[in-house]
Symmetry: C2
């Protein structure tokens, strides 16, 4: 078996990236079995400087070498960092910086710089697919590189990968899903009478809610995911700004509890139908029949229902979420990128 | 883009195979886009002779050339047929013969003959994976060929493909599912008070129930699917004969209606936990909580819940079943087999 040794350049080094580094170690034997032996050639951060070592950096080495000084995560610095790796046959940028969900930046610029520098790029960020999927996927295709973002929706549960790798010759006509964990948790709690603020505080304490909770509760996160899904699955060309968007607030509690009292569930549903220019994408509160696969989602569970030809209606459900799952999404995208470059048999 | 032109040898030409031939035509443009232009080089049947044409056979040509005379579907005839195609760089056997679910034959012998003859093999049959997964997957691996059977469980909904292609470096620890449409349909009908015999007759009229209904209602079909899943996902080495098996009958109606009256659902659940020699595999009636993702399955819907490290609990649900979906499973397996042989970028 040929062993491929992708050099990884981590752009951003927050909780997800650190969990990814540990997961790489934990998955070493499995990755060996797939003929993939990645090493961390560099880490670029915004607040703690950068570290490089062509011999590979361990988690401890990264911690000790990052300076604690503000560092550059600019596209120019990514380009310069990739230039240091130009002798490396296989370089993958792992992008996990904090996203401005209303602009998609800086992730979009990072992805652009990575592809321009000859690297494959995997990201946990929704921004690039939500704002610039057409451009970035075209650039990647022309460069013969991958642009992958499985972690953008439902963490590590395969959504984009499932459809791309295992559902060839399929046309998707419609999707609907519960894709934001914080709002689903709050809605579930409010059904039981818990005040909105208490439920939101619990999600913030658990590190699940966005630092700015309005990104969750005003539907921005769900809208960004809906835009990414619509752009990829329905060949749409929308952004989160053009998605019809509804959120939840303290006043939603009465409706949630009322629905529950009638055996029904109030859910924040991201959905789209139609393809291309005709795709209509929205995030809206919907009262659902109790046997609806979206209605049974308690707490942080997510699910996506897809209608397709010829496969009909398929639902994929994530019962557990969290940081480790997002890190796993990056790992699966890394494997896909390397397989493609290697033209390898899986 | 390189165009790959796999020669297909169809072994068996019943409803699924005929639907597959039409689906190939319907999917021609999509397959072209993937760089795959399959043609039917031969058809072997048990009751209607055989037909061969290296220039490719259309659905109409197959119909006119099959003789109506009993024909050979023996391993020897498959070997001889593949020998005729020995100049062809890429040959895929599409196996869809009628299965003896208690033996796994003749599908197992067909798969063996196909691999020995240098072909990749895709099958809609449960038998080979349920009875002989270890042997056949080893033979395929050593020959550098594919042995694929997505249609064996949940028709065309990706189960095996999803886990193999999109969940690398994952360890599955447990699964449970509703995987037999006929029994789920009957249980749903009996909850509403419909007599067992009437519901079964409806499934037979619809062509969903096995010709010998005991294969469905006595749990054999579910046991074969459970064995295939356990062998592939849990590295077990079981057969349907060693799966603890329960079925349904007219007397199950009272329990189903009783559960429903309490807001719960009675389901025939195929499940397994533990890995390798420790895998415990069973098919059993279980009364489920209404929010269980298996409980919400009405009529012919199927679902499979998987527990894995590090991804946690994931559920995939098939809301629509049927012949076309099984044909689609063969098509996806064909695409996977060709991609692997081509070492192609997806």
């Amino acid at each position: 078996v040929t062993i491929h040794r992708p050099a990884l350049l981590l752009v951003g080094y927050g909780n997800v990236a650190r969990r990814f580094v540990r997961l790489l170690d934990e998955s070493r034997a499995d990755l060996d079995g797939l003929g993939i032996a990645p090493y961390i050639a560099g880490v670029i951060t915004r607040h703690h400087g950068a570290a490089f070592d062509q011999a590979g950096l361990s988690e401890a080495q990264i911690a000790s070498r990052l300076s604690g000084q503000p560092g550059p995560t600019s596209p120019e610095f990514i380009a310069a960092s990739l230039d240091r790796l130009r002798e490396t046959p296989l370089c993958v940028v792992v992008e996990t910086t904090t996203l401005d969900i209303r602009q998609g930046e800086p992730a979009i610029s990072h992805v652009r710089a990575a592809l321009a520098g000859g690297a494959d790029v995997v990201t946990a960020n929704k921004g690039p697919a939500a704002f610039a999927y057409r451009e970035l996927s075209r650039v990647a295709r022309e460069a013969g590189r991958s642009f992958l973002f499985e972690g953008a929706v439902m963490d590590g549960v395969p959504v984009f990968n499932m459809i791309r790798e295992t559902m060839p010759a399929t046309t998707i006509t419609r999707f609907r899903g519960v894709v934001n964990s914080t709002t689903n948790f709050i809605l579930t709690a409010m059904e039981e009478g818990e005040p909105y603020a208490d439920a939101l505080a619990r999600m913030q304490d658990a590190g699940v809610a966005e630092a700015d909770p309005s990104l969750d509760v005003d539907g921005w996160d769900a809208a960004a995911k809906a835009a990414a899904l619509a752009n990829v699955l329905l060949d749409a060309d929308v952004t989160p700004l053009t998605v019809a968007r509804e959120g939840i607030g303290p006043e939603t509690g009465r409706a949630a509890a009322g629905a529950r009292a009638h055996g029904r569930r109030l859910k924040l549903v991201a959905s789209a139908s139609g393809r291309g220019r005709d795709a209509a994408v929205k995030v809206a509160l919907e009262e659902l029949d109790p046997a609806d696969p979206l209605a049974i989602l308690d707490g942080q569970a997510n699910a996506l229902e897809i209608d397709s030809v010829p496969l009909g209606r398929v639902v994929i459900t994530q019962r557990d979420g969290g940081l480790e799952k997002t890190a796993y999404a990056l790992l699966t995208d890394l494997v896909t990128a390397v397989r493609r470059r290697a033209g390898a048999v899986a």
